[in-house]
Symmetry: C2
Subunit: 184 residues, 2 copies
């Protein structure tokens, strides 16, 4: 599937509706995938997004040392792999091998994109903030790409059956993206 | 509608799926409502949540000065009021009067709850972090209450037609919460 560039002005719109993300990171020869529900855009100028990562997680170390992370947007079709990547530690398990996810090279960063995801955001860490048992990593968005049919130039195309994002309710429960409506 | 306490251990679960929120704040005799899509839980112990608020917004001043904010969860039925509260400034307009929303007293804070919302989270500001053109307010959750039928003790009841949350895609477009599925 061809990956299409999204103008950075709309970078936040691929995660703005609060979907679950798969964050990839890499330091030296170690890479990992972590499932996160705790993400939010933070700024338009500069273009910043944030993720909250538990201090004990393997990805926490990788992101802290490498100063980069990649946000990948998975869909309903890979729900079991999503849940798996949020339930086990990358210290013991190679999650790419276990899930069968395929690595694609990023343009600006060492961490890989996950080919099976429909959208990707390459982020360079700008700030690291304390947040209780988690750490908030603030990343500047360097590049956003999506699969064909995922973004219409301004909005996520949630009407496309291939764009069913997941939203975490707790434990193994996920909400699937619903219909789109407009305010007056 | 009776408001029921939610154990703080599950506080994050009323916003974990990335819904749009209405944040209320009050400083001296000025109160306001602001619509936010940029929210995320941050920590389990202590129980922290975060919101990103544009530095120019009236609510930014109210929250900075009062060191408190309340997260209210609106549903599809009030989409036009939600969009209105995200489109105009509280400096010029009394949004409670304009929307017809009803104030309820909070237990711990001066800011009011919005009666027409289905869930509420009283938060005391613990940290204020710079985030580009926005500010990240980190709040400790003091209390969570929901309407009857909204939370089953562990999860949001998105199967209840009264619990259709909204998720912002950009401009006046919102996704409505969809079906719930489980990973194996």
């Amino acid at each position: 599937m061809k990956k299409i560039e999204v103008p950075l002005i709309y970078a936040n719109r691929i995660i703005n509706h609060g979907c679950v993300i798969l964050v990839t990171s890499k330091y030296k020869d170690k890479s990992n995938i972590i499932t996160l529900a705790w993400q939010m855009p933070v700024s338009h100028k500069p273009k910043l997004v944030s993720i909250a990562v538990h201090k004990k997680h393997f990805s926490h170390m990788l992101i802290t040392k490498s100063k980069e992370f990649i946000i990948n947007i998975p869909t309903r079709t890979v729900i079991d792999a999503i849940h798996f990547c949020g339930s086990v530690s990358g210290r013991e398990i190679d999650k790419f091998r276990k899930t069968g996810f395929t690595e694609i090279e990023a343009r600006y960063l060492n961490a890989p994109l996950i080919k099976e995801c429909i959208g990707h955001m390459e982020c360079r860490v700008k700030k690291i903030y304390a947040g209780g048992d988690h750490t908030i990593f603030l990343g500047e968005v360097l590049r956003v790409v999506v699969n064909e049919g995922v973004f219409d130039g301004k909005f996520l195309r949630l009407d496309n059956p291939r764009v069913q994002t997941l939203h975490h309710l707790g434990e193994n429960r996920y909400m699937v993206s619903g219909v789109v409506i407009q305010a007056v």
